[in-house]
Amino acid sequence: MSSRIAGKFREIRRKNSKAFIPYIMAGDPNIKRTCELIRILEDCGADIIELGVPFSDPLADGPTIQKAAQRALDEGVTLKKVIALVAELRLNTQIPIILMTYYNPIFKYGEERFALDASASGVDGIIVPDLPPDEADNLIKYSRKSRLDTIFLLAPTSTDIRIHKVARASTGFIYYVPITGITGAKLSPDSSVESHIAKIRSVTDKPIAVGFGISTPEEAAGISRFADGVIVGSAIVKRVVEPDEELKNYLLSLRNAIQ
């Protein structure tokens, strides 16, 4: 059976469009607002939602998402609560939802139980930035069993061997990070994104979404020329407390740019 994420990418390809994948931190500034935000994101044309799980030591994240994680932790948000939140969201929406979490909360939860519970609540995939495929045998095994997509990352530093390995281990899509750096960093305009993506495409036909460093509609438009999807995180997280109209305008400008 094909996953909801794979199905979404096929649908987008048929329409000759590209996926808009916004990221927000679950529980920032509180769970109620997260539920509202998901509706807003969907209304503004999001195709897939990446939901951050707060962690005490987010070493792949820049200051914006670090602070968001801290606010969510202060609200008492945990991996368990995020899974329950997704179950609640599923009453109203069928949009694909991916959890982005660091490895230790999953490890502590228990990988097998996590895959079962996450899948049962309606989570479609997971991204774990500090877990390369080399260390993910168990999580991949249990995720396959529970039909949870495992999305791994590639970077500009990735060698051919790494590209093969990550492409093989990824389901749903491959997450390409266009910069060496952390979330919310500045995207440096160079031509390497295009050539790196071409290189990945030469070994796989899995969809490739690009995230880290994309904040303006211009950047999103530029990236969407090569990628199957564009992920925007920190720039949205910065705006979640703005009045809804301003947030919506920003989201729509991104949506229209990603074609």
């Binding site: 987010p58 070493l59 230790n104 490890f107 930035p129 390369p132 990735s158 060496t180 750096g181």
Partner: protein, 411 residues
């Protein structure tokens, strides 16, 4: 790389080489790092393994150890302390006499040399007590490399002397004011910097922790401590010691002393920071109060809550104030090869003063934890027993902090 000898009842003697190819010591270790860093870790692993067989590299390292670091450091018989405690003979391995005042320089110079070999132009490091920051800044000055150090706000306050030393050595010191504002957050920031600047920068991780190959590499650079101590005690006493004692933060000075003795019939004790008491939650005793988890690249014992978030820690010594412990120690703990205990802040402070008065040696507060354990158990041993304590660093950096605790105003 050492050979760990284990008796297997069915098949007789089996021999294990640790870590394994994926950087595991039993169940602990590994490489839990962002994809961006994996190629750099692969390269580091390759260069580090090659350096062990590279006679030119080893010769250069040996020359620096002798002429720059001041090795071998002495093994000193602490006769007044031994007399006072009226038990086992106590020897101090004087890492406090190494250049820059602690064992940290052994690893920093080794890694700086490797970085130069890899063509990196910039070194970064985290630091808690400041000793590793000073050691890395020193290594960078020695090799003509740029240097930036990450240090938590709380640690900057309690180790201000070392902050100024780093600056004198030409390093930039970046204050880390997020999270617990101590060593753990300094490591997070250093990892973020490394992820961003990986092409030009080498991350000199200061302890036997982090993603493979760091735990084994740092151990190997520090194992010179145990190799020297073995020769020195054989020369002084004609036999191996009965006990080795060292403090355990991340665990580099302790593994540096223990490593050479692992196959021998020598008991070993690692001393963690008991802080204000393990029951209070204000401590850094990972083996007494932690559970298995994954933090900053490696699987090991960790102080964490039931949801896998890392807990805050406390210790009077910045160098032991850390939520996780090196993966090889986790393995040695599970196998029972090394016994782990802890000393409270107050016990460490008492040991700090006692050694100063009885031997004229002011120890680092970190090392004072190891001394505190010796003060507890040496009197129970007979006088023909021998203990070697790793005096991992000198206490000059702690003098202001201790004065503050004692309510003494320094102008």
């Amino acid at each position: 790389m050492y050979f760990w000898v284990k008796i297997d009842k069915k098949r007789g003697l089996t021999i294990k080489r640790l870590p394994d190819k994926k950087g595991y010591f039993g169940n602990y270790g590994g490489r839990f790092a962002p994809e961006t860093l994996i190629p750099a870790l692969d390269e580091l692993e390759k260069v580090y393994h090659a350096s062990k067989k590279d006679r030119g590299f080893q010769k250069e390292l040996l020359l620096l150890q002798r002429t720059y670091i001041g090795r071998p450091t002495p093994l000193y018989f602490a006769h007044r302390l031994t007399g006072l405690l009226a038990g086992a003979k106590i020897y101090l391995k004087r890492e406090d006499l190494a250049h820059t005042g602690a064992h940290k320089i052994n690893n920093a110079v080794g890694q700086a040399l490797l970085a130069k070999k890899m063509g990196k132009t910039r070194l970064i490091a985290e630091t808690g007590a400041g000793q590793h920051g000073v050691a890395t800044a020193t290594g960078a000055a020695l090799m003509g490399l740029e240097c930036e150090i990450y240090m938590g706000t709380d640690d900057i306050a309690r180790q201000s002397l070392n902050v100024f030393r780093m600056k004198l050595l030409g390093a930039k010191v970046n204050e880390v004011s997020i999270g617990s504002r101590t060593l753990k957050d300094a490591i997070n920031e250093a990892m973020r910097d490394w992820t961003t600047n990986v092409r030009t920068t080498h991350y000199v991780l200061g302890t036997a922790f982090g993603p493979n190959p760091f735990p084994a590499m740092v151990r190997d650079f520090q194992s010179v401590i145990g190799k020297e101590a073995k020769k020195q005690i054989l020369f002084a006493e004609g036999r191996l010691p009965d006990y080795l004692v060292a403090c355990v933060g991340g665990g580099s000075n302790s593994i540096g002393l223990f490593h050479e003795f692992l196959p021998e019939d020598v008991k070993m004790i690692g001393v963690e920071a008991g802080g204000r008491g393990v029951d209070t939650g204000d401590h850094a005793a990972r083996f007494a109060g932690g559970s298995v988890g994954v933090l900053q690249g490696t699987k090991s014992y960790l102080l964490q809550d039931e949801d896998g978030n890392v807990l805050g820690t406390h210790s009077v010594s910045a160098g032991l104030d850390y939520a996780a412990v090196g993966p090889e120690h986790a393995y040695l703990k599970d196998t029972g090869r090394v016994q782990y205990t802890y000393a409270h802040d107050e016990e460490a402070l008492n040991a700090f003063e006692l050694l100063s008065r009885t031997e004229g040696i002011i120890p680092a507060l970190e090392s004072s934890h190891a001394l505190a354990e010796v003060i507890k158990f040496a009197p129970r041993l007979s006088q023909d027993k021998i203990i070697i304590v790793n005096l991992s660093g000198r206490g000059d950096k702690d003098v202001q902090h201790v004065a503050r605790i004692k309510g003494v105003l320094l102008s």
